[in-house]
Amino acid sequence: MIDAAAADLLGAGTVDALFPNGISRYAIGGLLVGLGTVLIYLGTGITAGASTFLESTLSYVSGRSRFAQYRASRDWRVVFTLGIIGGAAVYALIYQGDPWSIADSAWTTEVSPWRLFLGGILVGIGTRVGKGCTSGHGICGVGSVSRTSLVGVATFLVVAIVTANAVSALGVGL
């Protein structure tokens, strides 16, 4: 329905060129990501981001002040993260492979381990130094029309686009 409406509005050729996989999966997924954020906000007033979990969880094993400041929230951040894993697992169980069958429902990436690990290190440093990630700045911060978050999103988006294109242009495989 969303895809048909978009094709009417923009023309089918344009939609195919810009969105080869259609729009609906992205739009529905994005609305659900927002809804999950809103549910927590409704009940608790907390604007939850995903990357604080990294530092708050480290407070279980380190007494450093950077991590210890998150002690009060570390338990619910673990629950939030387990929820994200669980929700994605429900998606996989329904939509990947046969519905509600474990067989073939796992999907694995072709991106190489060194790119994941090195990228992960930089993501771990950058999100914590930069005060937020794609959910903290991108969803909650942009939703708050926070100038800090808008600048943060613009920064990481532009740098990520340059990086991904440079890596691709250098002929580095996935």
């Binding site: 809804l35 400041q69 994605a88 690990f117 990228g119 440093i125 914590r128 005060k131 800090t148 996935l174």
Partner: protein
């Protein structure tokens, strides 16, 4: 510290919906993020804008309807962080990592949920990075009182 009995269940339900959404949007797949960043598929714009518009409507309307959240008594507010050089430096480092790996924290947790076990390399890396910056930035602060407390 006593919490409302529904606090944790709500966090869990919110996480489940959030994670299901990340799975449904395919953002849990690094390939889809890399296709977006190299202009092969602009669909991810709908994830970020869709999510932030839904969140924005709630952040805008709820403070006008009620003063504070029922489970915590926390005042409804927006997510506003102070701006300084760190936002640009950290955002740039995050951008290089995101562009190299195609993965960000929330999507990485969801990626584990869709069965993508190699994402553990990325999650492991994120903990290494978060630990390294924490040790670095705690070096002066360990004598001083802890910085501003976080969300509880």
């Amino acid at each position: 510290m006593s919490r409302h009995p529904l606090f944790m269940p709500l966090i869990l339900v919110g996480g489940l919906v959030f994670g299901f959404g990340l799975g449904f949007s395919h953002m849990a797949r690094p390939e889809v993020v890399l296709d977006f960043l190299t202009f092969d598929d602009f669909g991810l714009l709908f994830v970020m804008f869709g999510g932030s518009i839904v969140a924005g409507i709630a952040f805008w309307t709820l403070p006008k309807l009620r003063g504070s959240a029922p489970l915590t008594g926390r005042p409804y507010g927006r997510r506003l962080k102070s701006f300084d050089r760190d936002v640009l430096v950290g955002g740039s480092i995050f951008g290089v990592g995101w562009g190299l790996s195609g993965i960000c924290p929330g999507a990485a947790y969801a990626s584990l949920g869709v069965g993508n076990w190699p994402i553990l390399y990325a999650i492991g890396g994120m903990f290494v990075g978060a630990y390294a910056q924490g040790v670095w930035r705690s070096r002066d602060a360990d004598d001083a009182p802890a910085a501003a407390p976080s969300d509880d």
